[in-house]
């Protein structure tokens, strides 16, 4: 299959959906002729014009409010929020407003098609206000789906699914993944939301992860294979709703688990995944579940410090070996 980058996969999904449905439109800061801060929307302004690729002022609340209002009226807006670190300046819309409209009006609004695209993650040397992994906050908001792909193919399929879902979806793109290439179908492809994926089959231990940490986890799994440990890697892909069945099934098979996340130890998805496993799989476990995560501190600017603060392959290997004995 043809290989393109994660960034190109996102752009292709946007383009194909915009070609199919004129109600789909983009809005955000510098996404027009400039092409987006990371270049994701490059070329879309030229193809679809200023009315469907709308540049906005620096007004995150203004963007989210306008997107929500347009979705209420049957349009299919896709606002771009440059960094997930900016969600706190428009948190009202992501927590009190969009996820609650349908419920609080008793279903008078049937569909609320709204995909909020944003970026997350470290290793870009941008320090504590542009590098965080805040996805865990949003899994605490019923009414909002949270999606975080780890490969180019999943990025295209999951984004297309998100755009065709009729609920608010927070779609999180890891900045380091943008440059990673992988097989992506040229035609439209839909990967259902809410389904985890076994990225590597194994029988000795289950490694549960998502986003960019999938890449590091797969690399660690290869190294473990060289040492005779056959790890299964589960990519959550959709963080809310979480695929409880997939993680339980794997742990029932391997009896051991490590949860790997880029978010710091006290946040993120690990707590939710472990809670799920405690409820579904306690009797199957041969060892306590371990977590690999960033340390509970601010992401430092200085590159050696950032690299040491964020989780890495070495820490994944260490956690696995502690369990395997």
């Amino acid at each position: 299959m043809r290989e393109i980058t994660f960034l190109e996969a996102i752009r292709e999904a946007l383009r194909q959906e915009m070609e199919l449905d004129e109600n789909v439109f983009l809005l955000g800061e510098d996404i027009g002729a400039f092409g987006g801060c990371f270049g994701v929307t490059a070329g879309l302004f030229e193809q679809f014009g200023a009315e469907r690729v709308m540049d906005t002022p620096i007004s995150e609340s203004g963007i989210m409010g306008a997107a929500l209002g347009a979705a209420l009226m049957g349009l299919r807006p896709i606002p771009e929020l440059m960094f997930i670190d900016f969600t706190p300046v428009c948190m009202d819309y992501l927590t009190n407003q969009a996820p609650k409209v349908r419920y609080m009006c008793g279903g008078q609004v049937e569909k609320l098609p709204l995909v909020i695209r944003t970026t997350s993650g470290g290793w870009i040397r941008a320090a504590g206000q542009h590098s965080q992994s805040l996805e865990g906050w949003f899994t605490q908001v019923p009414g909002l789906k949270v999606v975080m792909p780890g490969t180019p193919g999943d990025a295209k399929g999951l984004l297309t699914a998100a755009m065709r879902d009729n609920n608010p979806v927070l779609f999180i793109e890891h900045k380091v993944l943008y440059g990673i290439s992988g097989p992506v179908p040229e035609e439209e492809v839909v990967i259902p939301l809410g389904k985890a994926d076994i990225k590597r089959e194994g029988s000795d231990i289950t490694l549960i992860t998502y986003g960019f940490m999938l890449q590091k986890t797969l690399a660690a799994a290869e190294e473990l294979a060289g040492e005779g440990i056959n790890a299964e890697v589960i990519d959550l892909r959709t963080l809310s709703p979480l695929d409880h069945d997939a993680i339980a099934a794997s742990v029932h098979k391997t009896h051991k688990a490590v949860v790997i996340q880029e978010a710091c130890e006290s946040a993120g998805l690990a707590g939710l995944v472990i809670k799920s496993l405690m409820e579904s799989s306690f009797d199957y476990l041969d060892a306590p579940i371990k977590t690999v995560a960033a340390y509970d501190t601010v992401i430092p600017f200085s590159p050696p410090l950032e690299d040491a603060m964020l989780p890495n392959e070495e820490r994944i290997l260490k956690a696995v070996k502690e369990i395997m004995g």
Binding site: L20, D21, E51, T56, P57, S59, S61, G62, M64, G65, A66, A67, L68, G69, A70, A71, L72, M73, G74, L75, P77, D92, Y93, N96, Q97, R102, Y103, M104, C105, G106, G107, Q108, V109, E110, K111, L112, P113, P142, G143, K145, A161, R164, D165, N166, N167
Partner: protein, 325 residues
């Protein structure tokens, strides 16, 4: 008065309906039968009726937690309104929104918002959708003097101005936040003066003069329909009751409260109708009697209605099916 007698009498009756509907809610709070926070717009009837009467049924309008009356002015069903405010399944939102989140989408009224500010940015999205449809309808948003101090006000008006949206922002200045009086918390004498910062027209009108409100909204709506961009309209009015029911208003003197009643919008409009020979006192009395009957019907309807079944805890959270193309 230029309007046909029938329309004027309808406006008078709506103002009276709002008054008694709201006062009956106050009785419910005192009696302990009405749960939750209830914010009444008693004293602000000319604002709600003046605005709603000047709009097309196909214009969209939203308000804040104090705008039950707006729904009555918009010809919503008082039975279903009352049921909603009491948390009954026959309510507009199946009892899941309540007083602060009453919404009547079939009257193009996406409702009250429990948070002050976001309805202003959401209105931009509604206006954008209306502009795209090109049927000449406008999006109207009402908010208090307090919400004009929020950042959302700034982001909303700046974006509406840049995009020349068909949006009318109405600041209902009743002089108080909860206890904070405009004298202490507002940087300008007239909030409409803030329009200068957005390069849009701003005007202040006596919000207790229903005809003045009607005329101001008619005129500004006309200019907005012609594509001239948004307007900020400030309506100065009076809040008789506390911020919420149960607020003893210790921050106001008895003289101030007594003085407000001299500006009573309903008494004033009734007097004008009689003095100008448009209606007799007897006709007005009949209109008031009819309104009392309608209120009693609403009370009976609500009392006979059931609370939602337990399944409603989960319904309406998500739209279940994705969209097929």
């Amino acid at each position: 008065m230029q309007l046909p007698k029938e329309k004027l009498l309808e406006m008078y009756q709506k103002m009276f309906k709002i008054r008694i509907f709201e006062e009956s809610l106050a009785e419910g709070v005192t009696a302990g039968t009405l749960p939750g926070f209830v914010h009444l717009g008693v004293g602000q009837e000319a604002v709600m009726v003046g605005v709603a009467s000047a709009l097309r049924a196909t214009d969209w309008i939203s308000g804040t937690h104090r705008e039950h009356g707006l729904m009555i002015a918009r010809d919503a069903d008082m039975n279903r309104m009352r049921a909603e405010i009491y948390g009954k399944v026959t309510g507009y939102c199946k009892g899941k929104g309540g007083s602060m989140h009453l919404a009547v989408f079939d009257k193009c009224a996406p409702g009250c918002n429990g948070i002050l500010g976001p309805n202003q940015t959401i209105n931009n999205g509604i206006a954008l959708a209306l502009k795209k449809k090109g049927e000449g309808n406008i999006a109207v948003v009402m908010f208090g003097d307090g919400a004009s101090h929020r950042g959302d006000f700034h982001e909303a008006l700046n974006l509406a101005s840049c995009w020349k949206l068909p949006s009318l922002a109405i600041c209902v200045n009743n002089e108080y936040g909860i206890s904070g009086c405009v004298d202490e918390v507002c940087s300008v004498e007239d909030i409409s003066a803030r329009s200068i910062g957005y390069g849009i027209p701003g005007l202040t009108v006596d919000g207790n003069d229903v005809m003045a409100v009607y005329e101001a909204v008619t005129e500004t709506a006309k200019s907005i329909r012609e594509g001239k961009g948004p307007v900020l309209l400030e309506l100065k009015t009076t809040r008789y009751r506390g911020h919420f029911e149960g607020d003893p208003q210790a921050y106001r003197t008895p003289e101030e409260l007594e003085g407000l009643k001299k500006r009573d919008a309903i008494v004033r409009f009734g007097k004008e109708l009689v003095e100008q020979g448009i209606a007799t006192e007897k006709e007005l009395e009949e209109l008031r009697d009819q309104a009392q009957i309608a209120l009693q019907e609403a009370i009976d309807f609500e009392e006979k209605s059931e609370y939602p079944p337990m399944e409603e805890i989960f319904t309406d959270l998500y739209y279940e099916e994705g969209r097929a193309i």
